[in-house]
Structures are given as C-alpha cells and as structure tokens.
Amino acid sequence: MPTETPPAQFLGDPRPAVPPPLDRARELGIHQVLDIEGRPRGDLPDPDLPPATLHRMYRTMVLVRAIDERGWRLQRSGRMEFWIPSRGQEAAHVGSAMAMDADDWIFLADREPGAMLLRGASLQSLFAQFFGRAGEPLKGRRLPLLLGDRALNIVPCMTQVGAYIPHAAGAAWAAKLRGDGTRFIVYFGDGATSRGEFHSAMNFAGIHRPPIIFFCQNNGWAVSTPTDRQTASASFAEKGEAYAVDNLRVDGNDPLAVYAVTRQARERAGERGASLIEAVTYRLGFHTSSDNPDLYRLPAEVAAWERWDPIPRLRRYLEDKGLWSPADEEELVAQCQAEIEGAVAAAEAMPPPEPGGQFDDVLAAPTWRLEEQRARLLADLDGGG
C-alpha cells in the first residue's frame, strides 16, 4: 500500500531513496538465476546457455551501453537533437529479445536498441536514425531511439506511451487466426500500464489468447512519477490476474533469468496464449536528454541500483565460468568504440530528408490534395519571399 500523500517536508524535493526491490527479490517473488555477484544462486535454475549464446548476450549488452554513452555525448554536444537513455535496462531487453526466434515480431518502446542489434541492424543505420537521416529505415521521421524496421520484423512504437500494446496483441491474434507459428513480444514501461490500451490488450488477450509476451520494464519511474503514484497494486505482474493472463515478476537486471522466463512464456504461447512479464529494473540514466532527475530522485537511490548493474553481473558469471577474461573485455570495448566511431561518421555524413519527401507514404497513393500541397511547397520554397 502506498502512503496517501508524500510527507510535506518532501514536497518538491527528491523522494527519499527507495531501496531496490531486488534486495528482497525472494520475498517479493522476483525470479532470479543470478545473485547480485553474478553467481547462479537464484530460485531459477541456470539455463546453461551455450557459450556462443552467452557471448552474444554479453557483447550486445556492452555494445548497447557504448551506444548509449556515445549518443548521450553527441546530444550533449549539440550534434544530435535528442536522446533516450537505456542505461541499466540492457539485460531486460537483450535477455528477452534473445529469447524470441528470429522471425518473431517485436514491438518496441524506446529503450531497447539491443533488439535491433540482435536482429542484425547495422550501427550505421541506428545512428542514421538517431541523426534523422533520410536513408534510415524510417526516413528520418521519428525521434532518436524510436526504432523499427520491417525487414527485421520490428515495429516502432507510436510515441503515445502504451497505445501500441494492443497493436502487438492484435498482430499476434492475427497470426493465431491464420495458424502461423509466429510469436510476439511487446515492450512497455511501468507508466504504460496506466493507459487504457494496457487494459484493452490484457482483457482481449485473456479471452482470445494471442501468442504474445507483454513485457513490462518496470524501471521504477515514469519521468518523475514513481511506481507507487502509478498504481497501488503491489506489483505490475499481478495485474494479469484481473484478465486471467499468466504473469510473473523477474529480475530485469539478470539477463539469464529474463531469458529463461521469456523463453518459457514463448514456448507456452501457442497453448496458453499471452503472458505478462514484469521485469524489475531501473533507469540509471535521465528519462531523456530533456530531463533533470535531480528534481525528483536522490543519488543514493541510483547508487543502490548501480550495485545491480547487469553488465558487471553477467561478466562475473562469464568469468566464473571461464568464458571471459580481462583481455576479452579490453578487446570488446575497443571494438565497440571503433565500430561506433565509424558508424557515427558515416551516419552523420548522410543527407537529411528532402522537403518533398514528407508527402510520401501518407497513403499508398497520394491524393490530389497532397500532390497540390507538395507542388505548392516546392514552388514557394523556390520562388518565395
């Protein structure tokens, strides 16, 4: 139960630091493979993934972190308009996206660049999207980090938080009606559960059982709103009960646990239909480059969560298994830097969209009015005052 109102002395001040629920994972029913040190001592068995899979997982997480750091600096230095950090949430999205098959559909929110990488998107195309270049898959039309690509079966989100959840469920339902084996995953945040579309999608899913995983990244905050101002329920997972949708909580900073529960939900999707997975994680970074988290949260809270940083946690697991060495790490970091620098340079050099191009793709074929507007714009730009 939340307290009714925050104590008056904290009005307008950052909230007192809330300890990570992961500190009490077992008590709170948050499933884990790894403990805080990366040792497989959680309630879930170690999925014993093959080394190549583990390497892919770790490399992707490290690359995501490197992209995030580079993008942040590009934004801060004015070379990029906007940035949406994913720092801290690498395990949640990389672990789950890896658990899906290559042809499965993914509906993204905005902190999951790793899903694109896992499907083979090039770094240059990612940075071209961040820079808003005409040549990226979405033609420079979306803000940085609103990623997607039809060629990868990845659908970009529609910016309104949560509004696309039933799009994913509808697509999954369609696949089921067609008898296809395709499975679906849709990413959204804790804040998104408050929107009506979460309710719609869950309610329809309880009845019609589309093969989809509703993947809620509970990162503690929706901009400045903490989870206990978002809902009074004790967890986001349990909301599934209201719709008879299978649900569970998982340690979102434990990539092996995330992988395991997502894989299991995927495997049962044909028979059981939808699952709601709440990945308990934390946004270590700013909400976006326009945010100022100092207004609402204390450094101590962030510091407590840094202890659960998924990257060193997985690295220690790999090291303990003899699958990773300091030399590997050094090489990986260098490689990430080099690849990113190349991609930044190439992407930044790509041309921006042409004014006339915005009239494409409104409809399959432009109406007379759109053609008229295009012609008028180009003429006015040409001769105009």
């Binding site: 559909w105 898959p137 697509a171 339902w173 009606l177 579309e197 019609h208 409104v362 007379w368 759109l370």
Partner: protein
C-alpha cells in the same frame, strides 16, 4: 437490395474471395450486429472470421490496427458512430499514421464501419456525423454511401483499399431504400462524387441520408418555382471530388453545402474554403452552408430541428439564387 443487404453482401463477397478479411466488433457475431448488418456471416465464415469483442471501442480499433499490420484486412464495427470517439486516437493517430511513421514499411488496411447520421429519434449519441474529426489529420479515407448500390461498391472499395478507411453508414436508410445491386464484386472508386440531378441555377453538394431530402427539395423548387438545382452527392469525403464540384460551380455560379454535422469546421467549411479559392471568379453569391448546429443533436426534436430539414435547405437555396449585393 436494401442498403443493409448491400453492405452484408459486400462483406460476404469479399470474405469469400479473400480469407484475410475478418470482422470484429460488439455483437457482430451471434446476433449479427444490433442492426443485423453482419447477419449470417458468423454462421457462414466461422467465429475466427467474425468475432464478438468486449465492449471497448478503443480496444476494437487498436486490435484491428494490429491485425492489419500483420496482414489481415479487418473490418471493425463501431456500434454507433457516437461511440467512435474513444477510438479517435487509435484511428487518427495510430491506424492513419503507421504508413508515414514507418517510412512506408507498414500499412494498416483496415475498415471501420460506423452507423451514422440522425433521423431515427436516437438522440445525440445515436445520431452523429463524425467525419470532420477524421479529415483533418490525414492518412485515412472516408466514404459515406447513401444508396444500396453505393453502399455495396464503396464498402468493397474500402475493404480492398490499402489504407484505413472509415465507412459512415446511413442508419436511417438501412431498410428504407431498395436498388438493383449486382453482387458481382465491382467496387466503386473512392473519391468520385455522384451527379444526382442536373440543374443550371445552383449547385447543392451533400452526402449521407440528406441527399434524399435535397433531391426532394430540388424537385419541389423546380416544380413550384422553375429553379433548377444541381445536386451532387459527394459519397467520398476523403479524398473528395474537387473537379466534379468545381466544374459544377463554374457552371452554376452558386454553391450550397448541406450536411448534418455541426456547422463550425464541419465538412462544409473545407468545401467552401476550397471552392472560394479555386472558383473565385465564378461565384455569383457567397457559398451557403446548411448544417447541424454547434451543439448536440437533441432527443426530442432533434430529427426535426437539429438535422437540416427541408425548410432550411430550401431557404438556403433561395438565398443563394436570390442573392444580390
């Protein structure tokens, strides 16, 4: 066929031809819809193609968007157009934006069927004309058939269209009219108006069930006063047939627009704004708009005094033909 039978036949035809077509909505299955437009379709095509949904218009629209993204061609029924507003964001800022927002990669070939317009003493929420809300943002087509033949051809066209299409069905005409309609799968092109009645003195552009009232007034004016009214039924609102309208106005020099939706920023505003520009030198009088008022459509009296009645239509035509500076 009646309008209702024509709509049913169009769906049946296309469902038989194209197994991607599915229907979803409240009470569309077992009961065949509260108006029975989908009657018999669940029996014929099964519960995976004709699906009863929870009472959630936003959810219906949003799931249809997803189905269409995956490649189905969903037809979502909104029980009355007065209940479409909950789906506004999903339709105008979801369905209608995917193609553009994904650089042309994803499309949403869905149809929304919305029983619309007044004349059934249904009060505000059962008598609405929501078209204007769906014109402004772009990315969606809109048709409003008002004969059985148009209903058949335009619903077929909507289902086949690669983009989201809103079909405003004329509730008061569902069973009121009969046409010969060949159930041969021929679609009508979206975007072509219908010249319902020729006349040299004044052009009246309308759509929806009022088309029939306008024709009645026109016939009356011809008989009683020798005024020859040209009547155009738009049928498609987005895109609309600008050439057909402008051609007519250039001949008659006078334009009256008639619709049920509220006046302010009703579709007539766009027609007037467009025509005054394209046909500026041809206009002998200001463009008149006869419309619903800027308020809700009342229960008791709405059909007579909210909806443009023949007295108001006639008065506007008279103002147009008698205009002098």
């Amino acid at each position: 066929m009646t309008v209702l039978e024509a709509l049913n036949a169009a769906m049946a035809h296309e469902m038989a031809r194209d197994d991607r077509v599915v229907i979803l909505g409240e009470d569309v299955g077992t009961a065949g819809g509260i108006f029975r437009v989908t009657q018999g379709l669940q029996q014929r095509f099964g519960p995976k193609r004709v699906i009863d949904t929870p009472l959630d218009e936003k959810g219906i629209a949003a799931h249809a968007v997803g189905m269409a993204l995956y490649g189905l061609k969903p037809i979502a029924e909104i029980q009355f157009s007065g209940f479409i507003h909950d789906a506004f964001e999903q339709l105008m800022f979801g369905a209608s934006k995917y193609r553009w927002a994904t650089g042309g990669q994803y499309s949403v070939p869905m149809v929304v069927r919305a029983p619309s317009f007044g004349g059934i003493k249904g009060g505000f929420w059962h008598s609405q004309s929501p078209e204007a809300y769906y014109v402004h943002g772009g990315g969606m087509k809109i048709v409003a058939p008002s004969t059985p033949r148009d209903a058949y051809g335009l619903l077929l066209a909507a289902i086949r269209d690669p983009d989201p299409t809103l079909v405003l069905e004329p509730v008061p005409l569902y069973r009121a009219l009969r046409d010969e309609v060949a159930d041969d799968g021929t679609a009508l092109p979206i975007g072509e108006a219908c010249l319902v009645r020729e006349g040299a003195d004044v052009t009246v552009v309308t759509y929806g069930p009022l088309r029939h009232d306008v024709v009645a007034v026109a016939d009356e004016m011809a008989a009683a006063r020798g005024i020859e009214v040209e009547v155009i039924d738009l049928r498609s609102l987005m895109p609309f047939d600008v050439d057909g309208i402008v051609g007519s106005v250039r001949r008659t020099g006078r334009l009256v627009v008639v619709h049920e939706a509220p006046l302010s920023l009703g579709f007539g505003a766009e027609l007037a704004a467009t025509v005054q520009q394209v046909a500026f030198g041809y206009l002998h009088c200001p463009i008149e708009r006869v419309a619903g008022h800027d308020l809700p459509y009342g229960f008791a009296g709405g059909d007579e005094y909210y909806r443009p009645n023949r007295a108001r239509i006639g008065a506007a035509i008279t103002r147009a033909v008698e205009f002098s500076f």
